[in-house]
Amino acid sequence: MATRNECEGCADMTCASSKLVLEQDIAKDVRTAYDRIEARGMAACLFGSSGTCCRNCNMGPCQIIDGVEDMVGVCGATADTVAARNFARTVAAGASAHGDHAREMVKGFIETAKGNTPHEIKDVEKLHSLAQVFDVEVEGRDKNEIALELGEIALSQFGSQTDEPLIMLKRAPEKRQKVWKELGVEPRGVDREVVEVMHRTHMGVDQEYKNITLQSSRCSLADGWGSSMLSTELTDIMFGTPVPRRAQVDLGVLKEDMVNVTVHGHEPLLAESLCLAAQDEEMIALAKKQGAKGINLAGVCCTGNEILMRRGIPVAAGYIQQEMALATGAIEAMVVDVQCIMQSVGEITRNMHTDIITTNYRAKMPYGVHIPFEEHDALGSAKAILTKAIMNYKKRGKCFIPKDSKLDVMVGFSHETINYMLGGRFRKSYRPLNDNIMNGRIRGVGAIVGCDNFKVTDEAHIIIAKELIKNNILVVATGCAATALGRVGLCTPEAAKYCGDSLREVCETVGMPPVLHMGSCVDNSRILIALTAMVQEGGLGDDITDLPAIGTAPSWMSEKAVAIGHYFVSSGAQVVFQDLATTGSKAFHKYLTENMMEEYGAVWNVAKEPIDIAKKMIEAIESKREALGINKQGERVLMDMEMRRDLGGGGLTDVGCHGAE
C-alpha cells in the first residue's frame, strides 16, 4: 500500500482500522483522498493557501504579492484587503452552513411543538430555562405552548431586520457583552450577517482589513451565540439533553449479520427519525425477512456524534474514514444530508451493493439515490429510506469488518452533565472545576475540535490530547476530533492513567474521562456556555478571556472550522490552527495573530506540528494562570466565629452609629 503513503502533501495514514480495511482485496478499487492527493501530483496553489488570490470580480482573478508594488489587484486591492475579504467569506460560508442547519432544527422544533412530527419536547427543564432567556412566560403553560412561542422567536432571529442584538448574546459574561458593544460587533440577524459579509466583500465595498474583520467577527458571533447555540439548545430540548452514556466508535461497530445503515452529515432530525424507524417492528421484520438479524444504525461524521451523544448509537467513522467505511463492503446504505460528504462516496459505491441515499434537496450528487426527507412525514420518509437499505442486504457480497477495531467511549458531556456530575442534583455547579483549576490540580481547559484532514497526521488530535492531559489540562472535544480521540480510548474514564498526577486525581474523584466528548461540531456552542459558566462560577476572572482555556482545530478542513475559530476568538478564547490562509498578507495576518488581542483579549495562533500546538496551548494556559494570580500556593483559610459573622447576607456594616463620625 505504498502508494497510499508518503505522497507529497499527505501525511502517513496511521489509523489502524483504515489501514486494515484498505489492505483487503475488496478495497482494491476504492480510491480514497490519500490516493487522489497523490494522483493530483501537485502542491496546493500558493496564492490560494496564503489567502491572496482574488476572484471577486471579472477583472481578475488577481494574484497579489504583499510588498511588491506592481502585484496589487487590478482594482488596486492590497494583499491585506484581499486576504481579509477571503477570510470573511470563509467565515460566512461556515456560518451559513450552521445557520441553515440551525434553521432546519428550529423549524423541526416548531413542528414538534405543533405535534406534527414523531418527536416530542423531552427536556422540559431546559425548555423553561431557555424560555427565561427569551422572556417567554412559563408559569402555568403547557410545554408545547411554550415551545411554540420560543421556537417562533428563535426563528425570527434568523431574519431579524432590526438593529437589536441577538437575544442569546446576553448569556455571555457581562464584560464580554460590553466588549462587543464597544467594538460594534453585536450580531443582529443570523442571515443578515452573512449577507452583509458577502456585500462588504463584493468588489469595491469594504477595503479596510480591520473593518472587514469586524464584520467577520459579527458574522461568526451570529453563528456561535446565534444559530449554533439555537441548534444545540433546541435539539437538546427536543431530543433530550445528553447525559453520560457508554458507546463505541470505529469501523468495528458495523455488524456482519445485520443491515448496516450509516448516517452521515450533520442534521439530527433525519437521524433521530431513522432511530425511531429502526426500532419499528415492521422494519425489523423486513430486515429479518431479508436474512439479517436486524438493523444496525451507525454514525459517520457529526450526525454520528448527535445520535451518539443522545442515544449511544455507535459512530463507525469520522470525516476522514467515510470512504473506508464504504470500503468494508458491509454497508447497505449510507444516508447523507448536508455538509462534509465527499463526492467520492457516490463514485466508490458505483460498483457496490451500497446505496448513497441523499435526503436533502440542497445536497444531491452523481450516483446517489435521492429519497427526500419530508419533515411532515418524518417517520414515513425514514421508513422509505430504511426499506431501500434493507432491500440491499441480500445483494451484499464479500465484506470485511475489522471486528476488533472498536473502542468504548464515554459520551454525553453537555454543559448540564458537567454541572450535574460535579455535585449531584442538589449541589450541582462548576465549583469543583473552578476550585481545582484555582488550586492547580487542573491547569486549565483545552478544547480539541474540528475535522480530520489528510494534510496532517491522523494522530494529530491524539498527540495533542495526550500532551495536554499529561500536563494536567482537562480536554473537551467535539466533532470528528472527538471521534478520533475516542478511537484510541481517550474518551473513557480509564484514560485517566495518561494524565498527570493531579488531573488524574480529579478525574478519579469525579469518575470522568480526561477527554470530555461534548458532541458534534455545531455543539461547540456548548463550550461557549461552559466557558461562561466557569466565569460566572467565580474565581477565574470576569470574562472568557481571563480563563486558562484555549482551543484548537488541528486538522481543520471545513470552512465551518474557521467560523468556529473566529467566534471563539471574538468571544475572548484563543485558538491554535495548523495553518491559516492569511499568511500572504503581512498586516492582516499580524492583526489576526497579534493585534486582535488588544480589542478582543484573544488571537488566532498558528503552529504546524501537533506537539507544537500542544506546547502553545500549555504556554497560553500557564500565562493566563499567572495573570489570574492563581499560581501561588493557596492558603487554607480557617474560619472563626467573627469571620462567619462577616459572611454577609444582610450584614449591618453600613448602618448604625459606627463609622468615622
Binding site: 453520560p244 452514556r245 457508554r246 468504548d408 464515554m410 452533565t417 450535574y420 456530575m421 460535579l422 455535585g423 449531584g424 442534583r425 442538589f426 449541589r427 450541582k428 465549583r431 469543583p432 472545576l433 473552578n434 476550585d435 481545582n436 488550586n439 490540580r441 473513557t492 474514564p493 480509564e494 486525581e505 480529579v506 478519579e508 474523584t509 469525579v510 469518575g511 470522568m512 487554607r636 483559610v637 480557617l638 474560619m639 472563626d640 466565629m641 469571620m643 462567619r644 459573622r645 459572611l647 454577609g648 447576607g649 444582610g650 450584614g651 449591618l652 453600613d654 448602618v655 448604625g656 452609629c657 459606627h658
Partner: protein, 735 residues
C-alpha cells in the same frame, strides 16, 4: 481512588433504601397509610426531607412519594470498566440514604416507642437519646448562633480503647464542638458506651450526645443542621441548595469514622458531603482530596488518633480560638452543662449548705495588682471529702474604660466561666451562689485558686477593652466570708436601685443586637432598658458594654430619636435604623406592641407571645413547655410563625423577663392582657409577677392568669377568664 468510595456509597445507598422500604411496607400493613408518624415534638416533620424537598411526612402514606424520589435519586451501581461519572450520582445516593433513613427512624419511633429516651440526658437503662426535639434544638441552637458552639462532629464507631475514645471526645469538647454519636464500629463497640464505661458524663449538657445505636441515626445529626438553617437562617423548606450552602458556610460539622468503613457508612458520608461536611477516618480507606463540594478535602483517612481532632477541624476549615487557661482541669463551654451528682461530689460551698457569696467591684487602678489571686482559709488539699466550706469570692477590677454599670455584667460571667471548668458545677449567683466540686477535679489537683485564675484570665480575654487589671480574693473562713457578704449586700442594693430606675424614657440610646447574624442574617433585635433581648441573654447594659468592648461588633447604639407614640413605643430613630438594616423589609417596629409592627425574631427566643382572638387576651408560652397551648399550636409551631425575620402581627418572640417589665404589651393593654402562661413559666416569674400585680393595684390579677391546669383550649380558658372576671374581656377587641 474515590471510585472505591463512590461504588461503596452507591451500593450502601441501595441497601439502605431497600431496607427502609421494607420497613415501610411492613408499617403500611401494620398501621395503615393514615397512621401518623413523627419525630418527637418538632415542627419540622422529618427535617431532612422537609428542608430538601419541602415535603411534610406526617403519615405513613406520605412516605410513598418520598421513596419514589429515593428511587429516582439512586444511581446505577458503578461498573468495573467504562464507568459513568460517579461523584454527582454518589452525592445523590447519599441524599436518598438520608431520606430513607429518616423514614426508617420515624417508623422505628412507632415500632419501638422506648428505643430512645427523648431526654437531654441518658436514663438509667438507656443511653440513646434519639432525635433532638425542638426544645433541645432551640436551646442548643442558640449556641450555634452565638458562636459558643461552632459545629459538630458526627461520630461513627469508636476507637478500641476507651481511654483513647475519651481523650478524643475531650479534645472535641475543648474545641467547643458538639459530639453526635452513632452506631457501633467493626469492633462491636460504640463510642457512647466507651465513654460511659470510662465514667465520662454524656448527654446534651456535656455536648456528648448519644444519638442512636445504628448508623441510621446519622439523620438526627444532619436533621439538626437542616433545622438550624430553617429556624435561624430563615431558609425556606424545600430550598435545598440554600440550606446546603448555609450549612457548608456556617455549620462547621464533619463526620469522624473509626474502624472499618462499611458500604452503609460510605452512603451516609456521601450524603453528608452535600452539606459540605467532610469525613475523617482513622482507617486505611481511599482519600478524596480535590476540593469543590466541601470547602476543602472530602475524605481524609488513616489519621492517627492523636492527630484526628486537629486534622478534622483543619479539613473543615475551622478556627477555634481557645484561650489557654493554666489550670490542670479541662476548660471550655462544652463543660458548662456538666453536672456534679451525689456520687461524683467531693465537697460543696454555698447553696444553703454554707455561706456563699460572689461579687465584683471596680476600684482605682493603683489599688489593684493584676493577676493576683489570694486564698485565705483552707484549700481542697487541707480538707477531707465531704467537708464543706463557706466561700466568698471578691473580684476587684480596674480600667480606664471601666464604669460601675459594667460591674453586674462582668459578675454575671462568673457563672458560666466557673462552669467551664471540668469537674466544677456552679449554680445561682450573688449571695445564693453554690459551687459543687467533683472527684474528677480534685484528682486532677483542683485548688480554689484556680477559680481565680479562670476569672482573671477570661475577664481579661473577653473584656480587655474595658478593664486593665483584675485581682481575685477568695475566702473560705466564715468570718472573712461575712465581710465579703457585707460589701456585696451594699453593692447589690445600690446596683438594683440604679437598674430599677433605668427606664426607656431615661436613656437616649438603645442598642441593636445582631449577635445571631452568623446564623440569622436578616434579623435585628432592638434592646431597650425595659426590654431585654428575646433570647433572655442580653440586656441593655450588655449592649452598652459590648459596644464599648467592640465598637464595630454586634451591638450598636441607636439614638432612639423622637418618640411618636409612647404607648406603641414608636421611635423615629428606631424605625430609621430597622428600615435600613432590613433593607426596607421591616419599615417600622413598635417596641411595646404585639399587634402593630411587632419586633422580628431570629428564632432563639425564650418564649412566644400570641393573641388569642376569642379570649381577647395574650398567651405566652416558653420554649420548655412541650404541651399544647390555647392557640391550638405547640411552641414549635408557633416558633415557625414568629421566627425567620418576618413581622407577623399577633405573634412575637419575647424573653421571660419581659413579662414583668412595665412596658410589656403596653400598646395592647399591658400586663392585664396576659391571660395564659404555662405553669412552669408562671412559677418561674411568680415573685416579680406578683410584685407587678401589686404595683398596678390589682394583686388579685396574678390568679386570673390561667395555666394549662385550667385548660389548653381557648374555650376552656375563656370560661375561666369569665369566671375570674379577667380584665382583658372588657378591653377593646384586639383582632
Amino acid at each position: 481512588m474515590s471510585k472505591i468510595i463512590c461504588s461503596a456509597a452507591i451500593r450502601g445507598a441501595h441497601k439502605i433504601v431497600d431496607m427502609a422500604e421494607e420497613s415501610y411496607e411492613a408499617a403500611l400493613k401494620n398501621y395503615g397509610a393514615d397512621k401518623e408518624v413523627a419525630f418527637p415534638n418538632t415542627a419540622y416533620f422529618l427535617p431532612i426531607i422537609y428542608s430538601m424537598l419541602g415535603a411534610k411526612v406526617e403519615k405513613i402514606g406520605d412516605m410513598k412519594d418520598i421513596f419514589q424520589e429515593c428511587r429516582t435519586l439512586l444511581p446505577e451501581l458503578v461498573s468495573d470498566s467504562v464507568w459513568l461519572p460517579y461523584l454527582g450520582p454518589a452525592l445523590d445516593a447519599g441524599m436518598a440514604t438520608f431520606f430513607a433513613e429518616e423514614m426508617f427512624e420515624a417508623i422505628r419511633y412507632l415500632d419501638h416507642p422506648n428505643m430512645y429516651t427523648a431526654t437531654e440526658d441518658p436514663t438509667d437503662d438507656n443511653i440513646w437519646l434519639g432525635a433532638a426535639d425542638d426544645v433541645i434544638f432551640r436551646k442548643r441552637g442558640v449556641e450555634f448562633v452565638d458562636g459558643s458552639a461552632p459545629g459538630f462532629a458526627a461520630i461513627l464507631g469508636t476507637p478500641d480503647d476507651k481511654e483513647i475514645a475519651s481523650k478524643i471526645a475531650l479534645e472535641l469538647q475543648e474545641k467547643n464542638l458538639y459530639i453526635f454519636m452513632h452506631d457501633k464500629g467493626s469492633n462491636g463497640k460504640s463510642i457512647s458506651n466507651q465513654l460511659v464505661a470510662n465514667d465520662v458524663q454524656v448527654g446534651w449538657n456535656t455536648r456528648l450526645v448519644p444519638f442512636g445505636e445504628s448508623y441510621t441515626s446519622a439523620v438526627f445529626a444532619i436533621g439538626f443542621a437542616c433545622r438550624v438553617a430553617m429556624a435561624f437562617g430563615g431558609i425556606k423548606p424545600g430550598d435545598a441548595l440554600a440550606n446546603l450552602l448555609y450549612n457548608k458556610d456556617r455549620t462547621f460539622a464533619f463526620v469522624m469514622a473509626f474502624g472499618e468503613v462499611t458500604d452503609e457508612w460510605y452512603a451516609n458520608a456521601a450524603g453528608a458531603i452535600n452539606w459540605g461536611f467532610p469525613t475523617i477516618s482513622d482507617h486505611d480507606i481511599p482519600e478524596v482530596l480535590p476540593t469543590g463540594v466541601c470547602t476543602y478535602e472530602h475524605v481524609v483517612s488513616n489519621v492517627p488518633h492523636d492527630e484526628i481532632v486537629q486534622k478534622a477541624i483543619e479539613v473543615r476549615g475551622l478556627k477555634v480560638n481557645v484561650a489557654k487557661i493554666d489550670i490542670p482541669m479541662s476548660f471550655g463551654p462544652a463543660f458548662e452543662g456538666e453536672r456534679i451528682r451525689k456520687d461524683d461530689l467531693y465537697m460543696e460551698c454555698g447553696g444553703g449548705r454554707t455561706t456563699g457569696v460572689e461579687v465584683l467591684i471596680s476600684k482605682e487602678m493603683d489599688e489593684i495588682v493584676d493577676g493576683e489571686v489570694t486564698l485565705e482559709g483552707p484549700d481542697i488539699c487541707d480538707i477531707k471529702q465531704g467537708q464543706n466550706l463557706p466561700i466568698g469570692i471578691l473580684v476587684e477590677v480596674a480600667g480606664r474604660e471601666m464604669q460601675s454599670d459594667f460591674e453586674p455584667i462582668l459578675e454575671r460571667q462568673f457563672h458560666h466561666l466557673m462552669n467551664y471548668v471540668q469537674g466544677i458545677m456552679h449554680i445561682g449567683q450573688r449571695d445564693i451562689m453554690w459551687i459543687r466540686i467533683g472527684h474528677g477535679a480534685v484528682e486532677k489537683g483542683f485548688s480554689f485558686k484556680h477559680l481565680g485564675t479562670v476569672l482573671h484570665g477570661k475577664l481579661h480575654q473577653e473584656f480587655g477593652a474595658i478593664l486593665d487589671k483584675v485581682q481575685v480574693k477568695i475566702y473560705t473562713i466564715q468570718e472573712k466570708v461575712e465581710e465579703v457578704m457585707d460589701i456585696a449586700k451594699k453593692v447589690y442594693g445600690e446596683r438594683d436601685l440604679r437598674l430599677g430606675n433605668m427606664t426607656d424614657e431615661s436613656e437616649e440610646v438603645f442598642y441593636s443586637c445582631t449577635l445571631c447574624q452568623s446564623f440569622a442574617p436578616s434579623h435585628v433585635c432592638v434592646i431597650t432598658p425595659e426590654r431585654v433581648g428575646m433570647c433572655g441573654a442580653y440586656n441593655w447594659l450588655d449592649g452598652k458594654a459590648s459596644y464599648q468592648i467592640n465598637p464595630t461588633g454586634p451591638n450598636q447604639p441607636i439614638a432612639k430619636g423622637t418618640c411618636t407614640d409612647e404607648l406603641m413605643g414608636d421611635f423615629e430613630g428606631i424605625n430609621d435604623f430597622v428600615n435600613q438594616a432590613s433593607r426596607g423589609a421591616v419599615p417600622a417596629v413598635s417596641c411595646y406592641s404585639l399587634m402593630n409592627n411587632p419586633m422580628t425574631a431570629c428564632g432563639c427566643f425564650e418564649a412566644i407571645a400570641a393573641m388569642l382572638p376569642q379570649c381577647n387576651g395574650i398567651m405566652v408560652v416558653n420554649r420548655d413547655h412541650r404541651g399544647m397551648t390555647p392557640s391550638g399550636m405547640k411552641f414549635t409551631s408557633l416558633a415557625g410563625m414568629a421566627g425567620g425575620g418576618a413581622q407577623t402581627p399577633g405573634f412575637m418572640g419575647v424573653s421571660k423577663h419581659f413579662m414583668t417589665s412595665k412596658k410589656v404589651f403596653l400598646a395592647d393593654g399591658g400586663l392585664k392582657r396576659i391571660c395564659w402562661l404555662p405553669k412552669m413559666l408562671k412559677d418561674e416569674i411568680a415573685e416579680k409577677l406578683m410584685q407587678r400585680c401589686e404595683e398596678m393595684g390589682m394583686p388579685e390579677f396574678f390568679d386570673m392568669i390561667a395555666t394549662e391546669e385550667q385548660g389548653e383550649t381557648e374555650e376552656e380558658i375563656l370560661a375561666f377568664l369569665k369566671e375570674k372576671g379577667h380584665p382583658c374581656l372588657e378591653m377593646e377587641a384586639a383582632v
